[in-house]
C-alpha cells in the first residue's frame, strides 16, 4: 500500500500502460512538456518520447478522429480531453465512429481506445470547465463509461480500460485529483465494470459515482450520528451499470437515493431509478429520490456550492425517504 493522490495514481497507471504495451499512445492538448493542465501526464513525454506522448493540434475532433485511425492500425490510443466542456467538438467522431466501427466492420476493427475526461465541478473554474457529460455517452450504444472515485480505482481502472478492447469514456472526478488515498499496487480488487459498496448500511441505499462518492460518504457519517444507516454504492461503471449490486442493496434497505452532479433530466439517475423501480418493485418502501445538479447550465462557480449535491441536500433527501409513509 502506498498513499498517493488520484492525479499521481493516474500518472502511474498511464506510465505502467505505456511500459507494458508499445502500442499504447497518449494524445491530447498540452500533455507533453506541460504534462497536461492537471499534470496527469507529467514526465511521460520525457520518458516515452514525442511519438508516444503526442501534443495534439487544438482540435478535439482531430484528437479522437486520429485516435480512431490509430486504433484501426492496432494502436491503443488514450486521448486526453482537457476539460469536460471541450469534448463536444469530438462528439460526432465518438458517436458515429468510435461507438460504431466495431459493429460496422463485423468485428474486424477493434476500437481499443480510451477517452479521458476530467469532469465535474467544485474547483472554482470558469464556464465549460465543470460539466458532467456522462449521460450523453452512457446513452450511446457501443461505448462504455467508467469513473473512478479513489486513487486505487484510478490507478487500476485506467490500466484496465487501456487493456480493454472496447472504447471507454473515462470520467475523472477532477475535484478529487488532489485527495490522497491508499493504492495497492500489487493487485486490483474489483472488476472494471463492478459497482462497489463503499459503506454498508441498512436504511437507505445511496447510489453515486465519481466526485459525489466522497460527498455521500460524508453524508453517511453525518446520518449515522442521527441513527440512520446509509449504504453507499459507488457505481464505478456508468455504462453498463452494475444493477445486481444495487438490487441486493435495495432489497435490503427498500429506499433509494441517487446522487450525481449532472442535472437529473434524462440522466444516469433516471436510468438507475427506472431500472431499479422495475426490478425491485416489491422491495421499494418509498419513492426513489435524486439529488443532483439543477437542470440549468453549470452556473458561475461563485454559486457552484449551491448547485452541486451537498451533504445537506443528501441528508434532506434521506429525511424525505425515511419519512415517507408506505
Amino acid at each position: 500500500m502506498t498513499a498517493m493522490t488520484m492525479a499521481k495514481a493516474l500518472n502511474e497507471g498511464l506510465r505502467h500502460a505505456l511500459d507494458a504495451d508499445p502500442k499504447v499512445l497518449l494524445l491530447g492538448e498540452d500533455i507533453g512538456k506541460l504534462g497536461g493542465v492537471f499534470r496527469i501526464t507529467d514526465g511521460l513525454q520525457k520518458d516515452f518520447g514525442e511519438d508516444r506522448v503526442i501534443d495534439a493540434p487544438l482540435g478535439e475532433s482531430g484528437i479522437v478522429g486520429t485516435a480512431v485511425g490509430l486504433a484501426m492500425r492496432g494502436y491503443r490510443p488514450v486521448c486526453e480531453i482537457q476539460f469536460d466542456g471541450f469534448v463536444y467538438p469530438a462528439f460526432d467522431q465518438i458517436v458515429s465512429q468510435v461507438a460504431k466501427l466495431r459493429a460496422r466492420s463485423s468485428g474486424s476493427f477493434t476500437m481499443g481506445l480510451v477517452i479521458r475526461i476530467p469532469f465535474g465541478g467544485g474547483i472554482g473554474a470558469i464556464e465549460h470547465h465543470s460539466e458532467s457529460p456522462e449521460a450523453y455517452f452512457a446513452h450511446t450504444s457501443g461505448l462504455r463509461v467508467v469513473s473512478p472515485s479513489t486513487p486505487d480505482d484510478a490507478y487500476w481502472m485506467i490500466q484496465e480500460a487501456i487493456r480493454h478492447d472496447d472504447p471507454i469514456i473515462f470520467c475523472e472526478p477532477k475535484c478529487r485529483y488532489w485527495e490522497k488515498g491508499e493504492v495497492d499496487v500489487t493487485a486490483s480488487t474489483h472488476g472494471l465494470f463492478d459497482a462497489v459498496v463503499r459503506r454498508l448500511g441498512e436504511d437507505v441505499t445511496i447510489v453515486t459515482y465519481g466526485p459525489s462518492v466522497h460527498t455521500a460518504l460524508r453524508a453517511a457519517q453525518a446520518a449515522a450520528g442521527e441513527g440512520i444507516s446509509l449504504e453507499v454504492i459507488d457505481a464505478r461503471s456508468l455504462a453498463p451499470l452494475d444493477f445486481p449490486v444495487m438490487m441486493r442493496s435495495l432489497e435490503k434497505t427498500g429506499r433509494l437515493i441517487v446522487v450525481h452532479e449532472a442535472g437529473h433530466n434524462v440522466s444516469i439517475s433516471s436510468e438507475i431509478v427506472a431500472q431499479l423501480t422495475e426490478s425491485c418493485f416489491y422491495s421499494l418502501r418509498a419513492p426513489a429520490l435524486r439529488v443532483t445538479g439543477f437542470n440549468t447550465p453549470y452556473p458561475p462557480s461563485r454559486v457552484e456550492k449551491e448547485y452541486l449535491p451537498s451533504v445537506d441536500r443528501i441528508l434532506d433527501a434521506v429525511d424525505r425517504v425515511m419519512g415517507f409513509e408506505s
Binding site: G62, T66, G69, R73, Q97, K100, S105, S108
Partner: protein, 354 residues
Amino acid sequence: MLEEQLVQLLSPEGERVTHAQYPTTLNTDEIIALYRDMVIVRRLCNESTSLQRQGQLALWAPLQGQEAAQIGAGRALRTRDFSFPSYREHGVAWCRGISPAEILRLFRQVSHGGWDPQKYRHSVPTIVIGNQALNAVGYAMGVQRDGADEATMVFFGDGATSQGDVNEAFVWAAAFNAPVVFFVQNNQWAISEPTVRQSRIPLYRRAEGFGFPGIRVDGNDVLAVYEVASAALQLAREGGGPTLIEAYTYRMGAHTTSDDPTRYRFDADVEAWKHRDPIERVKAYLVRTQHITAAALTAINEEADVLAMELREAVLAMDGPDPLSIFDHVYADQHPLIDAGRQEMIDLGLGGVR
C-alpha cells in the same frame, strides 16, 4: 482554360498529351487493364442501379463518370497501402480485390460494412461526410510510427471539403507530415449543390493554405490520375508527407437512386460531359493507336456482362441477416444490455433468418 490547370495525359478525344512532370509509366497491357476495370465497374454500377429499381437494394450510389478517377487511384495503390472510402468508391473497392457482391451488402442493407477491411486493406464505407479523413490521418500516423513503407489514401467528395473534420485532417497531416494522400473527387455536385457553394477557388488550392502540395488532375483521364496518384503515394511512402489531389470529374448520374437531378441541373450540362466520358476516352486512344482489337473489346464487354449476371445472382441469394446478429459485434466483450437484448429478442421469437 480549365485544361490549363489540369494534369492531363489523354485529351478528351483520346490523344496522348505529354506532361513534363508526369511521364506515362504504363505499357499497353496495363492501359488495357485499366480500360477493362473501368468497363467492368460501370457495368456493375448499371446492374446495381437496376437491382435497386427492382427493389433488391435499399439504395445505390452510382459512380458513373468517375471511373477514371477511381480506377486510376485504386490501381496506384499497392497491396500493402491502406485506403479509406466514402460511399461511392465502388471502383476503388474493386481494385482492392473486394468482390462486387461484398460491395452490395451495404446497399442491400444486410450489413453496414460489407467486407473485411483488414483483409483487403480498405476500410468500410464512411457515410458521415468527412469523418474518414481524420481516421485516415490517424492510420497514417500509425504507419509512420511503425516505420512501414506504406501509404494511406482517403477518398471524399467536393462537398466534404467544407466539413470541419476534413480541414482538421489537413491540419494534422501537415503538423505530423503524415504519409497520407487526400483524394477529392470533385464531381461538381454535393447532391444538389454545385461546388461553388463550397468554395470559390479550385479545391486543390486548399492544401496551400495548410502548407502542403495540392494538385488538380483531369479526373476523367485514367492515365493522368494513375500517374498523379502514384507519385503522391510514393512521396508519402518516402516520408514526403501529405498531398491533396483534386480529381476534376463529373457525376454523370444521380446522387443516389433516391435523387432526382432534373430538379437542379440542366440536361445540356450532362450532355456536354458525355463528350468527356472517361471510358470512351481511353477506348478512343486504344482503338486509334490500334493497341486493342475489336475482339478484345468485345471480350471485355462480355466479361463485364458475366460479372454483372453473377452479381445479380449473388444479390438475389443474399439472405438475412439474422436479427440476432445485431448483438454480435457491438462490444468485444460481454455486456449486460446486449445479453438482455438478445434474450428478449429470442423470447419474442424474432430471431432467425427469414
